[in-house]
Symmetry: C2
Subunit: 152 residues, 2 copies
């Protein structure tokens, strides 16, 4: 039941890009430096997010990445699914990578795991990056001399 480093980095990069929404493309190098994420690793992550349509990219000099749509239309669930594949604790309750188990009808573990999955997605699929930005700003107001950070 663990969030991968990949998803962790992805969430941080997405918050960074959300805070810079509509301010033009942001370069990998900048995100990598500010968030202290290995650059080459981050390249892969952003590429994945682009391929699933969460990010747009621009190649060449002055290129970079930006959100493909408004931060309030992207949820944490979207990002974690893109990187980690599935959110469900077992495949037989997964939307993304559903695979029936042998005796689905009578499987009582499945029932509980379905509840767990729903509980998780209730949180992750309603929380948008607009919400995250709001939280970052609130957090900064309360802790005036705090460094801007939202890493794990």
């Amino acid at each position: 039941m663990k969030l991968s480093k990949k998803s962790d980095y992805a969430l941080r990069a997405m918050i960074y890009l959300s805070l810079n929404y509509q301010k033009g493309a942001v370069q990998i190098k900048e995100i990598s430096a500010k968030e202290r994420i290995p650059q080459k690793f981050l390249e892969n992550i952003l590429l994945t997010l682009r391929k699933v349509g969460i990010l747009n990219s621009k190649m060449g000099l002055k290129g970079g990445y930006e959100l493909a749509r408004s931060p309030d239309l992207i949820t944490l669930g979207d990002v974690i699914r893109a990187l980690d594949g599935s959110i469900a604790p077992v495949n037989c309750v997964s939307q993304m990578s559903y695979k029936p188990c042998t005796e689905e009808v009578t499987c009582v573990i499945r029932g509980v795991m379905m509840d767990v999955r729903n509980a998780i997605t209730d949180v992750l699929d309603t929380m948008t990056f607009a919400d995250m930005c709001k939280r970052v700003k609130e957090s900064l107001e309360k802790n005036e001399n705090a460094i801007l950070t939202y890493s794990i």
Copy 2:
């Protein structure tokens, strides 16, 4: 966010033992055969559950395993924690293996992950093996000619 095979097997074995609560010790071999779990692997799992006090064992001929307390006093969370270690998606929100992150106060990802963790434990720490037994029996009544099974 995946339930390990170890925890899966453990849950199944625990349901089996719960259905046989107060009927004397049950042997590894029997559970292994009925639930189709590799015997040597199951040995390790049951040993772990004994070490954390969930199971009692009896060595020697006619030995075996049985629940150390009533099924309504053991939750799925107890078992999964014993096998997989932690339920929390990140260590900085874990009860079991808590490890602070760099900037805890202002970390907004932490906040969401805390919500996820609570959502998961709400399900797993309230569901007992007595509940699971009840579900197994209900399920069998509804599907009269179903085979008794609760594997994933």
